[in-house]
Amino acid sequence: MYIIVVGCSRVGVTIAQSLESEGHSVVVVDRSRENLQKLGRSFSGITVVGSGFAPEVLKEAGIERADVLLAVTDNDNANIVCAQVARKLFNLEKVFARIYDPARAATYQKMGVEIISETQLVVDALKEKVFTKQ
């Protein structure tokens, strides 16, 4: 698959490396060239420097032929805007945004943006650990 990862955060780096090693075409977008270097020398995918919700940057990242976009910067609002631009301006179907704030996650889920609510995931995982008998 052709996958665009927006945000070279820890999550971004980890998923980009993982998807690439599984044989997918991966493009990583980040505002900072320095952040993109975190991908390491072994990463052979394409990197694009620029704002992840700027249409011309997404075009450069090949959004018109992409199968999936993952908005995983450390900034909730940048992810929300990026996901909506990908959906509404480029009609990309599979778009996922990572959001820390549970309230915003719930709101945008209702608005039709596919959300990974990071805080909720951790809370659920912790509760399962606490209440599951060994």
């Binding site: 919700f53 929300i80 805007v81 909506q84 631009v85 309230a103 915003r104 709101t107 608005m111």
Partner: protein
């Protein structure tokens, strides 16, 4: 009106002063404590110290009874999300946002902000008008930047001097609105005659401004 302003930088701070002076009820939301304290001393308004992107902060600012929200922080993604939350969660009819990067104006329109204000673009246009030799001024744009009201002075060398309005063909997407001559304002009719130094006011689709000018100005 009850107006919520999010972001108390230069723009938000000045806007709060102006709207308060116009007797509106203002609530100001700002992340920085020191700025909140300063404005709290200056103005008798509700100042909320918090992140305007959080629903609880907007509630503390009384968004349930607000008429208008203006998001004027220095971050475009924040301003967009604040306006979307105001619309989707609290059904605010009129959201106004400051666009920091002119290239993002289109996104603000697409994502449902009612009135995006591209401050850099406005400033650049005004400066462009001031430094350019023509007296062409874009008075106002509306319909989300699709229409513009423009004004310019008719030079003595214009090819349409002494012609009637009915003899002049304007570009398809443009309308002649008014002619200002000295202290008088004419609503133009077919037999109104153009005179040198007339001030022309026209309504045009954005992008057609130069075609309008070409009709009225002598060839360069």
């Amino acid at each position: 009106m009850y107006i919520i302003i999010v972001g108390a930088g230069n723009v938000g701070h000045y806007l709060a002063h102006r709207l308060f002076g116009d007797k509106h009820t203002i609530a100001l939301v700002e992340k920085e404590r020191a700025m909140c304290d300063l404005i709290g001393q200056e103005l008798d308004i509700l100042v909320v110290n918090g992140d305007g992107c959080e629903i609880s902060t907007l509630q503390a600012a009384g968004i349930e009874r607000a008429d208008v929200l203006a998001a004027v922080t220095g971050s475009d993604e924040d301003n967009l999300v604040i306006c979307q939350l105001a619309k989707e969660v609290f059904h605010i009819d009129r959201t106004v946002a400051r666009v920091n990067d002119s290239r993002n104006e289109h996104i603000f329109n697409e994502l449902g902000v009612d009135v995006p204000i591209d401050s850099t673009g406005i400033l650049a246009r005004v400066i462009e008008e001031e430094v350019s030799l023509s007296d062409f001024v874009n008075l106002v744009t509306f319909r989300k930047g699709k229409l513009a009201l423009v004004r310019f002075d008719l030079p003595a060398e214009s090819p349409i001097i002494s012609k009637k309005v009915s003899e002049v063909t304007l570009p398809v997407e443009s309308v002649l609105v008014a002619i200002v001559r000295g202290d008088s304002v004419f609503i133009p009719h077919g037999d109104t005659v153009f005179k040198p130094q007339d001030e022309i006011v026209a309504l045009t689709r954005i992008g057609e401004e130069s075609a309008v000018l070409q009709t009225f100005l002598p060839e360069m």
